[in-house]
Subunit: 614 residues, 2 copies
Amino acid sequence: MDAQQLRELGQQFRVDSIRCAAAAKSGHPTSGMSGADLMAVLVANHYRYDFEHPKRPENDRLIFSKGHASTLLYAIFRAAGAITDEEMLRYRQFGSFLEGHPTPRIPWVDVATGSLGQGLPIGVGMALAAKYLDRLPSRVWVLCGDSELAEGSQWEAFEHASHYELDNLTAILDVNRLGQRGETMVGWDLDVYRDRMHAFGWETIEIDGHDVEAIDRAYTEAAGTTGKPTVVIARTIKGKGVKAVENQPGWHGKPLDNPEAAIEELGGIRNIRVDVAKPEPAQAHTFPTQALELPRYELGDEVATRKAYGEALSALGAARGDVVALDGEVSNSTFAEIFGKAHPDRYFEMYIAEQQMLAAAVGLSARKWNPFASTFAAFLSRAYDFIRMAAISRVNLRLAGSHAGVSIGEDGPSQMALEDIASLRAVHSSIVLQPCDANQTAKLVTAMADADGIAFLRTLRPNTPVIYDADEAFEIGGSRVLRSTVTDDVTIVASGVTVHEALKAAETLAEEDIGARVIDLYSIKPIDAETIRTAAEATGRIITVEDHYPEGGVGDAVLAALAELGAEARVVKLAVTDMPHSGKPAELLAAFGIDADGIADAARQLVREPIAAS
Amino acid sequence: MDAQQLRELGQQFRVDSIRCAAAAKSGHPTSGMSGADLMAVLVANHYRYDFEHPKRPENDRLIFSKGHASTLLYAIFRAAGAITDEEMLRYRQFGSFLEGHPTPRIPWVDVATGSLGQGLPIGVGMALAAKYLDRLPSRVWVLCGDSELAEGSQWEAFEHASHYELDNLTAILDVNRLGQRGETMVGWDLDVYRDRMHAFGWETIEIDGHDVEAIDRAYTEAAGTTGKPTVVIARTIKGKGVKAVENQPGWHGKPLDNPEAAIEELGGIRNIRVDVAKPEPAQAHTFPTQALELPRYELGDEVATRKAYGEALSALGAARGDVVALDGEVSNSTFAEIFGKAHPDRYFEMYIAEQQMLAAAVGLSARKWNPFASTFAAFLSRAYDFIRMAAISRVNLRLAGSHAGVSIGEDGPSQMALEDIASLRAVHSSIVLQPCDANQTAKLVTAMADADGIAFLRTLRPNTPVIYDADEAFEIGGSRVLRSTVTDDVTIVASGVTVHEALKAAETLAEEDIGARVIDLYSIKPIDAETIRTAAEATGRIITVEDHYPEGGVGDAVLAALAELGAEARVVKLAVTDMPHSGKPAELLAAFGIDADGIADAARQLVREPIAAS
């Protein structure tokens, strides 16, 4: 399109932003209006996208990191002929796929945005996929707000994008100066952004974000820059084109008072149609594969489940070309390094930047790769908002968190994951797994690769004995009854490190003629409720034991499963009930009563209680 | 001390790092060895600290952001005479206060570190306290590793520190090039760090981190710089002084193979004593106060609890000079702006940087201010690792998260907090509150100000009717039975927005001769277990209803409380069981069956079930 047409298209986007918000009686029209010209030039002259086949790997990607400017995105969809005017005006209505912030319920949206500072790091993941995995010339364009540059995750993205020389990534920075409640720290001082981004290794271009010819030149320059990503730093005006709101504070996230007058001021409703160019057909790269040969561990050997994770993931990577691994600079602890050495082309070191690691995994998954991301389970908490948003993005992620609980020992509480089961169980579509031995770990890693949603594998620092045969099968949602007789008095539900303690306790109890059924609850969510119900009916008494704080972990999952089935049992929860500290693993398990002795004591006490009528 | 003495002190710190790790058979001696000279010069010639009175507000503060270098910190304590050699060598033992990573169990440690990238943003909070609240000349020194600069939180700190002109803050950057598993992205290219930090508004000084005279000059320059913070960018060598490990990969987090030889190579054990200078006595600033006059709301009025939060906090701020507020650029949504306008000297705008906001609150709390930090509850997830670490820091924090659950309506799932109760219940020492009306909110805000630990208040976007008199008292750990007769058939436990739905449901049910007891569970943790048990005994059936995902929220808290007391009841949980989307609040509450109709339906179904023998 020529400059005049582009300017008209920009006005159309503004008008449509106002119309959407007016129809919904909510929304962020002024945020869409500042970026309208930036998007008009992009979609008309630079973007390569097949709206009929949005999953084509050759497609460019466009991420609205400033997701609240959704009216602008939906205006683009209308101009591209993807949605009708009527559909657009159902914005934010119950049942409409055009939500307040974009989500992948819309076929042309890959990832959800709306929590600020996530679009650019996710774009890094998509650009990694295009450049190093798909090996296609598709580009990733990310529209960022200026307020969201206060999020540290953006700077993780700036650093990683230049480190990985992502010249297929362009950030479009819509510097309208105004956040929700006032001016940003930087305001319109574009040189400050330029200096920062330049220091982070980016090509920088400063422009007037309403000068369509300057925008056009900037995108051409960005596309032609090699060896590094480019940021187009655009000075824009929030609410541009409507005097009543232009560059005014107090107009964030509000429909305009007089939308009809504003639309008239902008020259009225337009119906310009943009024929977005399709990408050249091309074939995405694939990696060669061989038959799956999982590692096999001998019964009785002592192997850390984190080690089995690394070995199994590496084997899986040989069998499946879609598997990719990322790690947060602890790959020699999580053992992701085993995958990294075997499959260097599909391993991305993300350094100590857990938010960027998760975001990259989201981007890779959105481009149909199969990412496994690992760090200490405690440090997944650093990326909790990204995991929450990944669920809204409906991507499939596999997370491995090592160094669970007090069993890590001397490093102390900062390194101990003790809230991870609770926080990750609460994520929509999540799966929470905690294997207790190496063979079980290998099978669960394999199962994760085909799971829908966000699968979390909690691995252990210390070696634990192999108790399952290498040929035994384990599915997500299952459990194992490890010990049971017809006269069991009590059931011990354990997971991970506590399985081994429970088995020892059961032996001690057997010598005292107390029968203890032991359940290995390796799948904490989904939970094998039927096996727990059967045990509840058989024994009436259940002890849950977990290396985790008492809230929201194994014990609460068991209680919830029983309640769901209307089953009754006397349940006693053993967990880490106080702030732990440094010490040897065995000392710490004992201190919190979650070792064999603590379990046996709890069982003795429980079987002495009279059982309620049943 | 002169240069020769400083060099000797640095060697002592290296030797002691090696000795600690050798005694513990774990630890990170090579990380301590790189920073030894930087710390020797600091404590001998620049640091002002009264070891006998560590809480004095005039004291400088030293934060080991690279907390794994704890051996170096403990070596300092020994040199300063704060601990004995014997105590030092109990490093990492069960029962020793010298944990693997520093925690405030040590009197001279203010905050826990060990999750990287947190020390500098916490230092920002301490520097804000010193400069703007205490108004004392004390300085904050933060020892940072280079690996941890990959964390975005560090760049939030760089931006906020310069925005707030924190010339009392010095970052000491120990650039030893090597992370846990290999080289950093930047390596020894100090100019890259200089350019980045300069672009973020800091004074930068590049030095050889083993040249004690250069270090000395740098600290003098840093202390003399006004209007902006200073970073000393020091090129260091990991494992410096011991050839077997010096600048070698593979030696992170490991004791040396031959500690005796290494100690000999460093010139043997030394017992140099450092007399750390004490600060000049001075009085911290305090703010004037008046009697507490909480806002009062009329029964039947419609007021959002988030609005009541802002009004109550402002009133509290007038009555208590220690109360400080921070917000993440949404103060016109959380209503923290009411406090900000009334008490601008005690309000800190933290922009869209939730990690920095939480870290600043930790720093303020560690300096005995009383910080309330607010944003959308969904976005507290961005700072979850900081909240987890704040618990280990044993600080008192007050968090207000607005826009809870699907009741926010049109903005969609990215803005809806649906995992917050679960994730925050699981934090050690946490308190989780969810008021349903404005008067209750005001009372709980007041109670939070004196609570120990991490108190979270979940507030609502929509207006809700005032149902409690302004004179009614509410304590943390309590609940309210809002409706009860002797013939109740079922108990409905609700919290926040669902209280009003439960009351409506109970009225409908009463017309059908179904008696429903309604409990307002405004304190979700700690929970009023006795009231729940009494209801369980009286009605045998409980429905829990919450605007939250099913895992780890109100329902699971009720189940856990019943189990803890060995009480029995048939419990049915109502919650948000699928991914929500945009729509009107009432439409969404109905869609997930957590409105009055959904509750009444569940109650009808439950009372038709036969009750188990009781």
